[in-house]
Amino acid sequence: MSVSIDDARLRAINDKYRIFNQLIDRESMEADDSSSFTFSAKDNLCTREFQARAGSKILEGYRPPFDATPVRKLREAGGLLLGKTNMDEFGFGTFSTNSGFDIPLNPFDTGRACGGSSGGAAAAAALIEGHVALGVSTGGSISAPASFCGVFGLTPTYGRVSRYGLIDYGNSLDKVGLLSRSMGDIKMFLPVISGSDPKDPTSCTQPRIQISQRKIKRLALPKEALANISPEVESTFRYALEKMSLELGIAVHEVSMPSLRFAMPAYYILATTEASTNLARYCGMRFGVPEKDVSQHFNDFFSGVRSECFGQEAKRRILLGTFCRMVGFRDKYYLKSLAVRQLITKEYRSVFDEHDLIVTPTMPFVAPKFDEIAKMRPLEMYSADFLTIPPNLTGLPHLSAPCGYVGPMPVGMQFVAPHWDESGLISMGEEWERVFQLKTPEVMQ
């Protein structure tokens, strides 16, 4: 079997939707006769043949001499890497509009965002047949774009997939996962990219991944999840729950998870404190854009390139994270957030004692228009992640699945499973896929 997309078609799709910031060259594409599927890598995953810029101008020119482990594993499984997908700078965003390069356009309406930060990955999954996209999630960057672009997006348990070769955002939060139109592809490729890797110690305590179909019977719906949801998303979501009950015999019980209200601030504090230290390495010496004038004092040398090349959201998060780590605030913000993570994890565990999975909508609204996003305050954007943050903060595996449409625009629902139970998510996703009528964007019809 060879790959099913030709070079001209790929370039035409990319010209229209701005999925990739770097694409495979025509000769490599045409010379390929052994690959069995195509895949893409989010721009923050290192690959040998492309620059790895994580959507940031400060990494312009950085060409890694190695492949990230998930990229290497997909190549070894017979995959052809098509290119690097557009994203928010370092993953800092909900709509993929905070990019130093191209902003991807929604496959169902090019006046709307793809979601973020793996926006290009979700668009690739929606628009390219048989394609599997490597995404990365820190606080919802796989679920959000999967929801807005109408594809399946699986974020595995923290530590399930090696992060060797991933450009860090938040070390206690980053996870590599998959986006695809088909649950079958996610089921096939998740075990391929999973597993212990001595180059990433966080991957070395995991139990072996075992995917086996099982009947999902009981879902929990936290009542707190339905506050601040748009009426059309809520009605689409409730219709999907009814369909699950009638056609799949799955019961949904409303529960209360009061600690979820602490998740958003705790997440942003941990994510930005970790990001502000990780981004200290970008200072004009080792990676990307070099500062030339070595006669400057080091403070000016480092500050100049950072001030010029980081985008506004990156600067905002560096400031927030630096502030939360400063003397006098560390206990109030950082340590409190670590404690809150434990509190929320315990609450999840008590719900899982009596339920297979937890279900909520993925995002509170359908993909917004670009002019609507331009009017949002940063806090409003952060708040839009309130449903995707809790499982990310606690490292729980989760799956966003398309569950209906508002006009042409997809709506997603999110399933959350106990640590290491990706198998439960795949069972649920496959059952749902069997009864749900998935729509594909017009470009592919």
Binding site: T157, Y158, G159, S295, K336, Y382, G395
Partner: protein, 90 residues
């Protein structure tokens, strides 16, 4: 958050901000931190971990080796003889 405080934070973070940026970020951070004060209502806990699942250190014996060609590094970085060139420390 006042502009002077943002200036101090920016200095620690090695960022030079314009007056317009300082004003905007002061407002944004004020807005964000006010919202985050909900954390004051969270129960006080002493239990925490730095990772969401248990993680063990992975150790190995040191091995002498060379993964990358030094010539490549020399070509990519600002070097003088066998040294990397950097800014002044004082």
């Amino acid at each position: 958050m006042d502009i002077e405080k943002v200036k101090r934070v920016a200095k620690v973070a090695r960022l030079e901000l314009t007056d317009e940026e300082l004003k905007k970020f002061a407002q944004d951070l004020e807005d964000i931190l006010n919202n985050f004060s909900v954390l004051d209502e969270a129960p006080g806990l002493t239990e925490y971990d730095f990772n969401p699942v248990p993680v063990n250190d992975v150790l190995r014996e040191d091995q002498v080796g060379q993964e990358f060609d030094p010539a490549m590094l020399r070509a990519m970085m600002d070097t003088y003889e066998d040294y990397v060139r950097g800014p002044k420390l004082s």
